[in-house]
């Protein structure tokens, strides 16, 4: 893989890449991450299971450590016999065969003879006191020789930000979940972009039929809401580019041999368009966008925008998000100033679920344009020369704390995928504590740290079942 070892090389590579993207050229083989002769990391887009198999976990006390080898063997033998009897009883009702029994952990693997039987068996065993749980036999995948996965998206070598935050390390555990809905409250999203369309949230109560199926006053709001035209509508298509770029860093499809990769490949993007063609939007529309996102079940709100006006109404909306356990990730601002002295909202609201994000450059220095704040800015993330999606199936590089925030948002989505019960404030705490201390950020940010997504994900103690 091509690594960027110096700023000079980095800039040269970025220039080359940017030029090629603007010219509509593909990346040359030398920049490709994947060698066609090597196995490539290809996680499934959805969970995959072994057909016609089930794994049963029986209730069983651990075998005490202090027993002798012989006694241990007897216990396990008796236990295996008990499990076999259970399976024999089950075989009177269903076409099952025992494939293997693991008495030490209390698990039995069954082959099920009929396609519809697994669901019936699960329903039956849920009532059985001897059974702790039943689950499919999941496929899992080896990563090459213990290496972290590298996606085959052709621009991977220039996505320095995701590598810096240890995205690949996080991906050894999870690449996200479609159950995690992230609202990009921004200029809209090009939901038809070839590298984003698979990651778009789809309103389950709306059909493309020119009717307001879900009764929320919006016709065909399939992917979000557009608040720009005065009277809101259901088409949040991005005409500006900023929101599409943000969305790509959060959840562009990974390992599809195309374009870029997001931090949380499998999260779902809900588009709220309230920043209009000039990149500006009003507080009132931001509040309406937040209301929409909360009503549709968003768990994380990305706000890569801001201004100096402190609105108590917007703060009230953010507090409502907090009440619902939702995390708000907000860009600290690009004035190169101290937010403790010159606050920028929403990032400067002192609400526990707000995570204010500064931007760093490849060598981990605070970006020259980035705002900071020892009290009010919490964490840094890459925000210089960030390549991501823009409308029209294109890619481009942007700078900004706007680009740093979606790295954090994407990582938050990975944490939520792993542990859905985490509240927004808990996700925030996990991200802050897992960050890498960076000398140049000490005294500038409340944590003094830059996001380390790999550590944040690997540290989680209670992954989702």
């Amino acid at each position: 893989m091509t690594r960027m070892r110096s700023t000079h090389n980095h800039c040269a590579q970025l220039l080359l890449s940017a030029g090629m993207i603007l010219l509509g050229l593909t990346f040359p083989g030398s920049l490709r991450a994947a060698d066609p002769n090597e196995p490539s990391f290809k996680p499934p887009r959805a969970v995959q299971t072994v057909a016609n198999e089930l794994v049963i976990k029986y209730r069983a006390s651990p075998v005490p450590f202090e027993v002798s080898e012989g006694a241990r063997a007897d216990i396990l033998s008796n236990r295996a016999e008990t499990f076999t009897k259970e399976a024999t009883r089950l075989s009177a009702e269903f076409p099952v065969e025992v494939v293997a029994t693991y008495p030490a952990v209390g698990v039995q693997r069954l082959h099920v003879g009929a396609d519809d039987a697994p669901d019936l068996i699960k329903a039956r065993l849920v009532l059985d006191d001897a059974v702790e749980f039943v689950e499919p036999n999941y496929w899992v995948y080896a990563f090459r020789d213990g290496e972290e996965p590298k996606p085959n998206d052709p621009t991977w070598p220039v996505l320095w930000g995701i590598e810096k935050i240890r995205g690949p390390e996080a991906w050894t555990e999870t690449t996200g979940s479609e159950e995690v809905v992230v609202a990009v409250i921004d200029t809209g999203v090009d939901y038809a972009h070839r590298d984003l369309k698979a990651s778009m949230w789809r309103n389950p109560k709306e059909e493309p039929n020119e009717k307001d199926d879900d009764g929320n006053g919006l016709v065909d709001d399939l992917h979000g809401i557009n608040l720009c035209p005065g009277e809101p509508n259901g088409d949040p298509l991005d005409a500006q580019g900023h929101g599409t770029h943000v969305a790509g860093t959060i959840a562009a499809t990974g390992n599809n041999e195309r374009d870029v990769v997001g931090v949380a490949w499998q999260a779902r993007i809900l588009a709220v368009k309230f920043l209009c063609r000039d990149g500006g939007g009003t507080t009132a529309d931001a509040i309406r966008g937040i209301e929409y996102a909360l009503a549709k079940g968003a768990q994380i709100l990305n706000m890569s925008w801001g201004g100096p006006g402190r609105s108590r109404a917007l703060e009230a909306a953010i507090r409502e998000a907090e009440r619902q356990g939702v995390l708000v990730v907000a860009a600290a601002g690009n004035e190169g100033s101290d937010n403790d002295k010159f606050p920028q909202y929403p990032s400067s609201y002192q609400v526990p679920n707000v995570l204010a994000v500064a931007a760093t450059a490849p060598e981990d220095q605070l970006a020259a344009f980035s705002n900071w704040g020892k009290k009010s800015v919490h964490l840094a993330a890459p925000g210089v020369s960030i390549l991501s999606t823009v409308p029209g199936n294109r890619l481009t590089f942007f700078n900004g704390t706007s680009m740093a925030s979606p790295h954090v948002t994407g990582c938050a989505a990975l944490l939520k995928a792993r542990t859905p019960s985490l509240a927004g404030t808990e996700v925030k705490a996990a991200l802050l504590s897992a960050g890498d201390p960076v000398p140049g950020l000490d005294g500038r940010l409340s944590s003094g740290r830059r996001l380390n997504c790999g550590r944040a994900v690997l540290r989680q103690q209670n992954p989702a079942p």
């Binding site: 920043l275 931001a286 209301e291 890569s304 801001g306 009230a316 690009n334 020259a368 344009f369």
Partner: protein, 97 residues
């Protein structure tokens, strides 16, 4: 000293205290001359449009004089946080793009 925040010139956001009846809110709007454009957060926050001839500052003061009003503020304008220039070299790089 930073510039005054940008805001929509003829609009205000009015946050009422909890439990204020809708009829009373309407009286207050009529008294000040604000036309309700949107209600948000279960009606607690109201976006109002002022008459073309009204002064936003005076309307803000008028709303603030009612004990039922918790907060009144301009409808601020926010903007994207993209486009910062990291180094002079990068500025040149962006120009080339």
């Amino acid at each position: 000293m930073k510039d005054e925040p940008r805001a929509v010139p003829d609009e205000l956001l009015v946050t009422f205290k909890p439990e204020i009846p809708e009829a009373r809110k309407q009286e207050i709007h009529e008294s000040v001359g604000g036309e309700v454009v949107n209600r948000m957060l279960n009606g607690r926050i109201t976006q109002v449009k002022l008459k073309a001839t009204a002064s936003r500052k005076e309307a803000q003061e008028a709303y603030a004089s009612f004990s039922e009003v918790e907060a009144v503020e301009p409808n601020y304008v926010s903007g994207i946080q993209q486009g910062g220039i990291e180094t002079p070299e990068q500025k040149e790089e962006d120009r080339i793009r």
